[in-house]
Amino acid sequence: MNRLLACWDSTLGKKAVMGATGLLMIAWVVLHVAGNLQAFRGAAAFNGYSGLLHGPLHEALILMRLVLLGCLLLHVTASLQLARRNRLARPEPYARTEPQAATMASRTIRLGGWVLLTFVVLHLLHLTTGQIHPDFVEADAYHNLVVGLAQPLAAAGYLVAMVSIGLHVYHGAWSSWRSLGLAQGSSRPLERPLAAALAVLVWLGFSLIPVAVLLGWLE
């Protein structure tokens, strides 16, 4: 117990926890993309998939939600604590700084985290529980999806959030792997083709749905 606490107390331990929870959440996000794309197979297929989750797989769904909630809590707690340490580590800023390697994704990772956290709350209220949905029908996931995303404001919000998740995955997938010490040596360590592919897959996969609804492909 002692040694686990000492590990959690260190900057490396917290980053490793962020890495492990981050990768778990990314794995789930990929499943979510695959699930969403069922919408293109029509209302019956999509509602069938949704019914499967809420019917026979109900226990698994609950368990998965608990695991995700735990991951999120650990990930956010560690990031807040690390951000505080990092702020304290340089009390006096430079008059000039010229970043040489940092990417837009790495520099906006914390801001992006806030965007995603806000998005997750709104998204759950919108399409899972329905409080902010204009016409939420229990057990008609396809209807909820299409009607919910037909509002231009909601669709725009989803599209912005998906850019954010793409950037988060681009930096996060790569750095999580490294923070777990799994990366092998490389002559160009900043290159990350796998993380880039994953980021594009998630961004495009998720963005396709609101775009398809707006264009009338899904109705």
Binding site: R3, R96, R178, G181
Partner: protein
Amino acid sequence: MNLTLYVWRQASAASAGRLSRYEAADLSPDMSFLELLDVVNERLTRQGEAPIAFDHDCREGICGSCGLMINGVAHGPLKATATCQLHLRSFRDGATIYIEPWRARAFPVLRDLVVDRTAFDRIIAAGGFVGVSTGSAPDANSLPVPKTDADLAMDAAQCIGCGACVAACPNASAMLFTAAKVGHLALLPQGQPERMRRALGMVQQMDAEGFGGCTWHGECMEACPKEISIDWIARLYRDYIRASATRPERVAVEVAL
């Protein structure tokens, strides 16, 4: 050539500092960056002003004493080059150059451009060494080391401890330094007995000194005059996680502060 300099001047650790403007005229492009400061200092001394304090020693890129933030880039615009090896030909005639000290809570400014880097020494003292039995010298090559491991260890052992990684990191993290110092020993047979204790002890000391954490921007690697790779940081994570999970030996590391 002529340059306009904005140099951080700070009389002591306790006093507040500010950027002062200096005009440097009739410079040779073949002067080193530190010679530029020497020239400015001669003039300041003649005028009865305090010269600009800066750290330097070997002036050939091997000791790690020098280190300046030049126009927002640690060690200036030339890659894989310490400040002492940078020449004025890397700048345009008439350019304006901002010169600031390394900035980190763990590297307090002592005066002008000189910072206290003894935090690095304390990280080394917390495990960056190997125990050897004294007495007669061991036979050469009595411990075989695979060539690839020896080469790789040498990549990390090149670290001169200048602190550019900390200076360049947006989080003022000392991960690249610590990773290099843990990593080169972890590859060699001589480094094995203390390997786990070393990773735990040096990381603990690094955190205690008040450096920030790694967020994988990669700035440290770009700033490093010895081009030490961020792959060493992944190796440090590997050793640290393994040491935390197994802790094969009792650890009694004193945090020296």
